[in-house]
């Protein structure tokens, strides 16, 4: 531990906390990272001084169309057989484009260098907004940061660069940070941004009977649900890596209580009854096709599907109230077919036959529905969730 770390931790009495310890180092710089950066910068500098051609070579993962995806049966994560290729950026290169690419690579490396040396965590967004005209787009920054991590052979968090968090959490838990500070969210009714998992030592969920919700932010439901106290989390659409890492950490923190092992907290996904909803749930449970390398430490095999199912929607619709159903767009239909054809999660010999059928039923009926449809039903959304959870028991 680095005793000098200056945590900008809010007082535990402030409830709820804003995002804790946002810009603090939680461990000493990784020597492998420091060594790579220093050697690379030194070689670039000496080439410039000797009027040679400085070069930076980075590894990059090849595009998804070239690789096969599988669901690893041992850990339930979506993985791929992907190849890596080397790309060399040189200065001045043969044209302005090559010169620009080298410049971008060098500037991003410098930003990482500064972050690692100072111990401050920066975001990909910080790097982009330091010079948006030069970087041209956020995705260029994202790609280079990932390529540096791959080339050095470490996780991106070792570079002190994080993705800007967007997920929200509220619920009945206490966080114990790596500096033994306690953040108590139990009495709070407000949500807060997903904390960095690197800052969390453990999560105390001793009194929680059930756990994860997505896309539900009704006030206090986590305290008064029929199934018990819980935690609500939303990734606001497709979850970012931070949100997934937080939930994974939560799942690792939760153990069945010895007195009633059958009452172990459960993780539920509540998603819209549309292709994106199903795809978001798959991202939480198995991982994303874009980050297959990280899926095995972020997937959540115990995730259960709470809803929204086509059958609930259609059966529950009273005569004359089918208006809340929405016709699938052409994009929805294309997306469903692409999910069925490309990802092993939905394959006929895959792990989620019920999910496969759900997508096919959407195609058959040509309808989708959003969670909000349950607002107008008996007992509202909360009543519906309580009933669904009771049915799951």
């Amino acid at each position: 531990m680095d005793d000098q770390a200056d945590f900008l931790l809010p007082s535990p009495s402030l409830s709820p906390p804003p995002r804790p310890i946002n810009r603090a180092r939680t461990r000493p710089p990784n020597p492998q990272v420091q060594q790579y950066i220093e050697e690379t910068l030194k070689s670039v500098a000496s080439q410039i001084l000797s009027e040679g051609q400085p070069a930076i070579t980075l590894k990059r993962r090849v595009k998804r169309s070239n690789c096969t995806f599988i669901v690893n049966p041992s850990n339930g994560s979506l993985e791929s057989t992907e190849a890596e290729k080397n790309i060399t950026y040189t200065w001045p290169g043969k044209d302005g484009y090559e010169a620009w690419r080298f410049d971008v690579a060098l500037r991003i490396l410098s930003a990482i260098h500064k972050a690692v040396n100072s111990g401050l965590v920066i975001s990909k967004r910080d790097i982009y907004y330091s010079d948006p005209i030069r970087f041209q787009s956020q995705s260029i920054v994202d790609i280079f940061v990932d390529d540096f991590a791959l080339t050095i052979g470490v996780d991106r968090s070792e570079l002190n660069v994080e993705a800007a968090a967007k997920g929200l959490v509220t619920g009945y838990y206490q966080l114990i940070t790596t500096t033994d500070e306690v953040i108590d969210a139990r009495a709070s009714t407000k949500d807060c941004l997903i904390p960095r998992v690197e800052d969390i030592s453990r999560i105390d969920t001793a009194d929680v009977d059930w756990a994860v919700f997505r896309r539900l932010s009704r006030s206090n439901f986590h305290l008064r649900a029929a199934a018990g106290k819980g935690i609500l989390i939303t990734g606001k659409g497709y979850p970012d890596l931070e949100t997934r890492a937080f939930i994974r950490k939560l799942s690792n923190s939760i153990l069945p209580s010895p007195s009633s092992p059958d009452k172990a907290p459960r993780f539920y996904a509540l998603v819209d009854g549309d292709p994106d909803g199903m795809s978001i749930m798959s991202t939480y449970k198995y991982g994303s096709m874009a980050h297959t390398r990280e899926n095995n430490r972020l997937n959540l095999p115990c995730l259960r599907w709470l809803g929204l199912r086509m059958s609930d929607v259609v059966e529950g619709s009273q005569l004359g109230s089918d208006e809340s159903l929405i016709t699938l767009s052409k994009r929805d239909r294309r997306k469903i077919v692409s999910m069925l054809a490309k990802s092993p999660v939905w394959a006929v010999d895959g792990p989620e036959l019920e999910w496969r059928v759900e997508l096919q039923r959407m195609l058959m009926l040509n309808v989708k529905a959003e969670i909000e449809i349950e607002y107008d039903r008996v007992g509202g959304l909360e009543g519906w969730i309580d009933r669904e959870m009771a049915r799951e028991e």
């Binding site: 059958s311 259609v314 059966e315 005569l319 089918d322 016709t327 239909r333 469903i336 077919v337 069925l340 054809a341 006929v348 036959l353 496969r356 059928v357 096919q360 039923r361 195609l363 058959m364 040509n366």
Partner: protein, 305 residues
């Protein structure tokens, strides 16, 4: 007067996912599901044994139809692919894999030569399967998703049902609509001509079955009783009875003479995607049902004795 139909067997959990479509020949029943294979079961053996698996549709199959002789079948997969099958002595083999616009629902003429299809953008098309799937008709409607289609037994008319609730009839000879039908207010999910061609039945999310007189286009009856979306219809061979299946698992038999429901089956609460009358054996008529229960259930008329 009510009728009794007795369950006399089933092919249980035969598909790993929902069965979306059934097609019958004299001796077999073909089933299409969300798996990657069609299945063929024998209907002459009381155990309904599986006789063939036809692998063809990787992302699942939603329609399968057969011609009158049982020598040709066509299946349409969720990926949009259309497969033409041929049967020799009861064994099916793939003839061709074709792409036919964005066709969704299909119907095959009795002689197997013509395939009629309703497309996702509301076109009604006819292809000649004996001439390299040449497109010989293309009727444009108002662009609403074509959910279902049927050919009259004499081949003179095509009817289509659409998501908008519209129902259309086209003459295959002139390519024109002889009259416009009143349609339903909600998506239509099944249309079916009676064996004599006198009636057209249409049903869907409105939970009623509407009967049209095909000589005038007038709506002559509306059969009410289902309390969920109606997904499938089938006429008995004599035209005396109409069979319907709905999203809540109910199967109903309707008398066309009295316009009443004469039998209701509710063995499952899971959606019935397809119902089909079976070829008559002796005096007794029977039918098959399939859907989200993933089994194919067989029923026979209880003969008084």
């Amino acid at each position: 007067m009510s009728k009794q139909y007795l369950s006399y067997g089933s092919a249980d959990n035969t598909h790993p996912t929902d069965v979306f479509s059934l097609a019958v020949t004299n001796k077999q029943i073909l089933s299409a599901s969300g798996s990657n294979a069609l299945q063929v079961h024998s209907t002459t053996d009381p155990d309904f044994p599986l006789v063939q698996d036809l692998e063809a549709h990787k992302v699942g199959c939603h329609h399968v139809v057969t011609d009158g002789k049982g020598s040709r079948a066509v299946s349409v997969g969720f990926g949009g692919e259309v497969v033409i099958w041929a049967s020799h002595d009861g064994t099916w083999s793939k003839t061709k894999d074709v792409a036919l616009a964005d066709v969704w629902a299909v119907a095959l003429s009795a002689d197997g030569q013509h395939l009629a299809g309703a497309t996702q953008n509301g076109h009604i098309k006819v292809w000649n399967l004996d001439a390299n799937e040449e497109e010989i008709r293309d009727h444009e409607t108002q662009g609403s998703f074509g959910t279902c289609i049927d050919l009259s037994p004499d081949g003179r008319f095509i009817a289509s049902g659409h998501e908008s609730g519209s129902v259309y009839i086209f003459s295959t000879e002139t390519g024109r609509m002889p009259f416009s039908l009143s349609g339903l207010v909600k998506p239509v999910r099944a249309v079916a001509f009676s064996p004599g061609g006198k009636f057209l039945a249409a049903a869907g999310d409105s939970r009623v079955i509407v009967l049209y007189d095909t000589s005038s286009g007038e709506q002559v009856a509306s059969l009410t009783g289902h309390s969920a979306w109606i997904l499938t219809l089938s006429w008995s061979h004599t035209g005396e009875y109409l069979l319907s299946g709905s999203f809540d698992g109910k199967v109903k038999v309707w008398s066309i003479d009295t316009r009443n429901c004469v039998a209701t089956h509710s063995e499952t609460e899971k959606a019935i995607w397809s119902v089909k009358w079976l070829p008559k054996v002796g005096k007794s008529e029977g039918f098959a049902t399939a859907g989200a229960s993933r089994s194919i259930a067989f029923y026979r008329e209880a003969t008084g004795g």
